[in-house]
């Protein structure tokens, strides 16, 4: 979102910038430099160090052994089924969960936007799942789906659905629980972002449409949706980037078993459990690259969209 608004802001102010004197520019650089130094220290250095580590063969299993390995770690990753499984699982998880969150979140936002008694209370209540720590909610979901004893299998068994399924122990079902847990937790967040978008649409537009005889569906389709696009895209960026880095849910729910291993999870396992610093860093860098690539694509399309909308 920051990037998007920054782009918008710059677009508007571009002409003025040119009139700034060189002295003022120098002052700006000077004033910004402490912040830049901090960013370099806390962000650029660790990222750079991780990239460097990923090019080495370095493992805590063998003390003293260190070797520059070039792209060996990357070749190994691309050649392993573990990596491609994680890529596949990460994208399946991201695609399905973010889509569901968008649809459900939009529904929630529309409901919260309409005027009714107790709206303030509802808005607060809806946000509760989002306020719960992911690890805590993951443990709750794991308990809910515990075979035989958990609430979910017991209820499903009573109504005769999936009675024999070990939810967290079977491929497909485990992913379904993981997506469910994520949607439950983050749909409210999506709703909140979309609600903010809804609130900036002026009422006059709707009044005018009503006067012209537009139905509720037409008003939604022709007014609400198009004017909500910037908010939707910003919400999508947020959720997609988060989902691509998903770690806590598979870590707690399944430990990456049964088709739920994700990129962040395998990177963590190689780094901390297996002590393979070089290879683990390579997996982290690959995760970073995937996230960067997706955000780049988003920013491009979002930036373009928002600008074209603003010009309209």
């Amino acid at each position: 979102m920051e990037a998007a608004t920054a782009r918008l802001g710059r677009g508007g102010r571009r002409k003025k910038e040119k009139s700034y004197g060189s002295e003022e520019r120098r002052l700006a650089t000077l004033l910004l430099s402490p912040a830049m130094a901090v960013i370099v220290l806390v962000a650029a250095y660790p990222i750079g160090y991780a990239v460097w580590l990923s090019l080495t063969e370095y493992s805590l299993r063998e003390p003293g052994k260190w070797r520059f390995a070039g792209f060996d770690n990357y070749t190994e990753a691309f050649g392993s089924t573990e990596f491609w499984d994680a890529v596949k699982n990460t994208f399946i998880f991201t695609g399905i969960s973010v889509t569901l969150e968008l649809v459900i979140g939009l529904g929630m936002a529309l409901a919260m936007h309409s005027a009714f008694k107790g709206r303030g209370l509802l808005r607060t209540v809806v946000l509760v799942p989002w306020a719960v720590l992911t690890v805590v909610s993951a443990i709750t979901w794991r308990t809910l789906f515990e075979p035989n004893l958990g609430l979910a299998p017991t209820v499903l068994d009573k109504i005769g659905i999936a009675g024999n399924v070990v939810w967290l122990g079977q491929e497909g079902y485990a992913m379904a629980v993981m997506i469910l847990a994520d949607v439950w937790k983050t749909a409210p967040f999506m709703a909140l972002l979309l609600l903010a978008g809804l609130q900036v649409i002026p009422d006059d537009v709707y009044d005018a449409a009503k006067v012209d005889g537009a139905t509720t569906w037409q008003r939604f389709q022709r007014i609400t949706l198009p004017l909500l696009v910037p908010a939707i895209l910003v919400a999508l960026i947020f959720r997609t980037l988060d989902a691509l880095r998903i770690f806590d849910l598979p870590f707690v729910l399944t430990g990456g078993t049964n088709g739920t291993s994700t990129l962040s999870l395998i990177a963590q396992q190689e780094l901390t459990t297996n002590n393979l610093i070089g290879y683990g860093s390579a997996l982290s860098v690959l995760t970073f690259v995937v996230v960067m690539a997706v955000s780049f694509i988003y920013i491009r399309t979002v930036g373009g969209n928002i600008r074209s909308l603003a010009e309209d």
Binding site: N148, L149, L168, G255, T257, N274
Partner: protein, 420 residues
């Protein structure tokens, strides 16, 4: 503002006074009081880094030691409750050659890894002098390449829990156990993909007379008939209903809950589940037994527990060793058994009435510990165990045939050994 400075002055004065006393003792404490000298042989500061002292038993032992050794001061540094976090924090310190920890409380499976990195001191002399008083299987966990690098501190071994209202006695072999389980409500164990599955699998392999790594730790031996038989036995158990499919999601607590809620006839679990079971609705409907045999062999378990090792970076190894020796005396072992339910490493302690009261299964537990064997002793144990639980899990899920799983396990273990 005033109070802290005042306190600081007091503390400083007290420390000077203590230091003064210490040197006084050194000066005149030699000849006249020999008895006092042997009791108070330890000196200096020692820091003991071990998992969280949830019951206060570790603190009691430290206090007892400090009282008996006025010249020494042992400090307890509590690490987190979770074993993986304890290991991570110890490794962080050791990698940095940190001198903070003198005595390390290490899970029995961490010792070979620490030895491989040169992080712990050789205590072979101590073991060769005092080794006889320990249960032999506990000493096995401290040995790497014929030398000892740690002292047993507490131990553990699994049990078979069985429903006395469903079966009259504990089955004599695993085959009968699975057959009876298939007829009744099944057997639950720790089948999730983690360390616990390695333990459950090795208990069967050891009971079958097999192994996964040669005794010297240099060769993978998992591609054997015993391992294939055990994998087939476990996979078939799930297929024919002796074992519920749900075990692939079970760790200790999940299996305990399944057993206590009456959903299983048998359970493999650690002794901790006994006391909790006695508080459940199954209180008078279950009993425990040591592991049954397999394929005509005698039953065997896998040994757990913690050892104490001296950090290679300790500035006071003598003091550290004196403290370790103190923790293995029957009195202190008894405190840990009664206060913290930590099974003693000294055989005689199990006969103590107070210990028997705290652990009604004490006698069975001693037998279980005596018949238990260590997990593969290797500096690359973390990779070996991953090779084991990954492939056993795949066999349980039916993703791989038992034979495939055995040979893949063997390859991965061999690869792990060779990388070191």
């Amino acid at each position: 503002m005033k109070t802290p400075r005042f306190l600081a002055v007091i503390t400083a004065t007290a420390m000077l006074a203590i230091a003064g006393c210490g040197s006084d003792d050194d000066d005149d404490g030699g000849a006249p009081n020999a008895e006092k000298a042997t009791q108070a042989k330890a000196s200096g500061n020692v820091t003991w880094c071990i998992g969280k002292d949830t019951t206060g038993a570790f603190g009691t032992v430290v206090d007892n030691f400090n009282k008996a050794n006025p010249n020494a001061n042992v400090k307890l540094l509590e690490l987190p409750e979770n074993a993986d976090d304890q290991r991570r924090l110890q490794i962080q310190r050791l990698r940095a050659k940190n001198t903070e920890c003198d005595v390390l409380g290490a899970d029995v499976i961490w010792v070979p890894e620490y030895v491989g990195q040169g992080w712990v001191k050789d205590v072979s002399d101590f073991i060769s002098k005092n080794g006889d008083k320990f249960i032999p299987s506990t000493v096995d966990t401290t040995e790497v390449d014929g030398k000892n690098y740690a002292v047993p501190f507490n131990t553990n071994a699994g049990f078979i829990y069985y429903r006395t209202d469903q079966v009259s006695e504990a089955p004599k072999d695993w085959e009968t156990l699975y057959k009876e389980a298939a007829k009744d409500d099944g057997v639950v164990y720790q089948g999730f993909r983690y360390e616990g599955l390695t333990v459950n699998f090795l208990e069967l392999v050891y009971s079958a007379g097999g192994s996964v790594v040669s005794d010297d730790g240099k060769q993978a031996t998992a591609d054997s008939q015993e391992v294939k038989d055990v994998l087939k036995f476990m996979a078939d158990g799930i297929k024919n209903g002796a074992v519920p499919k749900a075990v692939t999601t079970y760790k200790e607590e999940e299996s305990r809950r399944a057993f206590e809620s009456g959903n299983a006839t048998f359970m493999r679990n650690w002794p901790y589940a006994y006391a909790l079971g006695k508080e459940s609705k199954l209180a008078d409907k279950f009993d425990i037994a040591t592991f049954p045999g397999f394929a005509g062999n005698e039953g065997a378990g896998v040994i757990g527990g913690y050892n104490l090792a001296i950090s290679a970076f300790s500035k006071n190894p003598e003091g550290a060793l004196a403290f370790i020796e103190f923790t293995t005396t029957p009195e202190q072992q008894k405190i840990m058994a009664t206060d913290a339910s930590l099974p003693p490493v000294i055989a005689s302690v199990y006969d103590d009435p107070a210990v028997k009261k705290a652990m009604p299964f004490a006698e069975d537990l001693r037998t279980a510990v005596e018949q238990a064997k260590p997990r593969p002793v290797s500096p690359v144990y973390p990779q070996i165990t991953a090779a084991i639980y990954d492939n056993v899990y795949a066999a349980l899920q039916g993703d791989m045939s038992p034979d495939e799983a055995a040979s893949k396990m063997n390859d991965e273990i061999q690869k792990a050994i060779e990388t070191f």
